[in-house]
C-alpha cells in the first residue's frame, strides 16, 4: 500500500512539474496578486484599527499562501479529472492496487506541493525585506498548518473531480476559490472588512488558517492562533478526505 501511494504521489508530482498550466496557479498567480496588493495598498497599514506589522508584505503573505494552497487544490482536481477523461483513472481502478491509494497518492503529492509553496513564499518574504518573526519555530508552525490545509484543499478538488468527472467543471470552480477567500480575513484585518464579509469571515475556516500562518510571520509564535489554524486545517482535511473517499466509492459503484 505505502509503495503504491508513494509511486502514485511521485507520478503526480512529476506531472505537475512537467505541465506549466499546473505550476502557474500554484505559485505564480498568487505571487503576482501579492505584488499587486502590496504595491497598491501598502499605505493601508496606517489605517486606524490595522494591527501593528513591520510591513504590508508580512501581513499579506499568509493570505497569498492560503490562496496558493486553494489553487493547489483546484489543480489536484483538474489533474484527476484529466485522468478520468483520458481513461487513465479507469486503468488504475482495474490495476491490482488498493483503490484508496489512488486518492492517497494524490493527497501526498498535495502535501509535498504545500511544502514547496511555503518555501516559495517565505523566500519571497525574506528576499523583499520581510521576516518571519517567530523564527524556526514559526516556520515549523506555518509548514504544519499549510501541509494539513493543502491536503484538505486537495481533497476538495479531488472530490469535485470524482463527482463531476469533467475538467471544464473543475475549472469552473476556480472563481469560487476567490469567493471563499474574499469573505475571510486572509488578506485584510477582520475588523476592517466591509459588512457582510466581516460577519462571514468570523465563521470561515480560511480566516483561521490564514491567521494561524500569519501569527508567526508578524510576531513571536503564540499558541492560540496557531492551534486555531491547525484545528481549522485539520477539520477541513478530515471532512474533505471523508467526502473524497465517499465520492470514490460512489464512482467505483457506478463504473
Amino acid at each position: 500500500m505505502i509503495r503504491v501511494v508513494g509511486a502514485l504521489a511521485r507520478r503526480a508530482l512529476r506531472n505537475t512539474i512537467r505541465r506549466p498550466q499546473f505550476v502557474a496557479p500554484l505559485v505564480v498567480f498568487p505571487t503576482l496578486f501579492l505584488a499587486a496588493n502590496v504595491g497598491g495598498l501598502t499605505r493601508t497599514t496606517s489605517l486606524p484599527g490595522f494591527p501593528p506589522v513591520s510591513s504590508f508584505l508580512d501581513f499579506q503573505l499568509a493570505g497569498s499562501l492560503t490562496q496558493a494552497l486553494l489553487l493547489g487544490g483546484v489543480a489536484s482536481g483538474i489533474a484527476i479529472a484529466l485522468e478520468i477523461e483520458m481513461g487513465f483513472f479507469d486503468r488504475l481502478v482495474a490495476a491490482p492496487i488498493p483503490r484508496v491509494a489512488i486518492v492517497l497518492g494524490r493527497l501526498c503529492a498535495a502535501a509535498v506541493i504545500a511544502l514547496f509553496q511555503v518555501a516559495w513564499f517565505v523566500a519571497i518574504d525574506l528576499i523583499f525585506g520581510g521576516s518571519v518573526e517567530g523564527g524556526v519555530l514559526g516556520v515549523v508552525a506555518i509548514v504544519a498548518i499549510a501541509v494539513v490545509a493543502g491536503v484538505g484543499f486537495g481533497a476538495i478538488g479531488i472530490t469535485i473531480a470524482l463527482v463531476a468527472r469533467s475538467v471544464s467543471t473543475v475549472q469552473g470552480v476556480f472563481p469560487l476559490v476567490f469567493v471563499i477567500l474574499f469573505v475571510s480575513s486572509a488578506f485584510f484585518p477582520q475588523d476592517l472588512l466591509e459588512t457582510p464579509a466581516r460577519q462571514i469571515a468570523r465563521y470561515n475556516p480560511l480566516s483561521y488558517i490564514a491567521n494561524g500562518m500569519r501569527d508567526p510571520i508578524v510576531g513571536p509564535v503564540s499558541a492560540e492562533p496557531v492551534l486555531e489554524g491547525l484545528a481549522a486545517a485539520a477539520g477541513v482535511a478530515i471532512v474533505m478526505i471523508a467526502a473524497c473517499v465517499l465520492a470514490l466509492r460512489r464512482r467505483l459503484a457506478s463504473a
Binding site: A24, L32, T42
Partner: protein, 254 residues
Amino acid sequence: MTEQARIVLWLGHRGLNEILRVPGASIPGLLAPTIFLLGLTSMFGAAAELPGFTADDFKTFIVPVGMLQGAAFSGAATGVNLARDIERGWFDRLLLVPAPRLTLLAGIVASAALRSLLPSSVVLIAGLIIGVDWPGLGAVALAFALVMGLATSLACYSTTLALVFRTQQAAPLMQMGGFILVLFTPAFAPEDLLAGWMHAIATINPVTYVLAGVRQGFVGDVTWADTWPALLAIGGMLLVLGSLAARGMRRTGR
C-alpha cells in the same frame, strides 16, 4: 459586403459561439471580474479612508478595474480557443481558406472585442447594484470602447503565444499577460498612494492610461486630457501586439 469582411464576421461569430460551446472555459472569465469587484470591495473598502484617496468609495474606484479584467480574460480566451483549434487540426484547415492571413487574424481577434462586452457589462451592472453612481452615457460608451480595444490588443498577444506554443498548456502565460498589465497600475489606489516600485511600473505601463480613460465619469469628469492618452495607449498596443500576431500568422505553416 466583401468576401474578406464576410470571413472576419464568420470567424468572429464562431469565436462568440465558444462561450456556449465550452462553458466550463467561459464561466470563469465571465464571473471572475465581478467576483473580484465584490470581493476586493469587501476586503479593501477601508482603503478609501486613506488621506489622498481620490474617489468617494473603493467600489467606485475599482469598477473600471473589473471592466478591464473582463477585457483581459476575453483576450486570453481567444488565444486559448485558437490553441485548442490548433491541437485539433481545425486551424490547419482554416489556413487553406483562400484569404489573406491578416483577414483570418482579424476574424480571430474580432470575437474578443465583442466577447469582452459581456463580463464588463456584468461588472458595470453589479457595480450599479451595489451603489456605484451612473457615470453618464458618454463615459460608459468611452469605457466600453476602451475595453474592446484592450481585449483586441490582448487577443493579439494571446494569439501570438498560441501560434508559438501551439498548445492549450500555454493558457497560464496568455492569462498572465493581461493579469499583470491590468493590476500593475493604480488599480487599487491612486498613483500618489502606490509603493515607489509600483508607481514606477505603473508609469510605463500603457494600461495605466487606459484605466485612467475608463475611470473617467466614475471618478471625476470625462476630459480630453485623460481620453487621448488612453486612445494613444490602445493604438500603440494594437500596433505592437497586432504586428507580432500578424508576423506569427504569416510564418505559420511556411
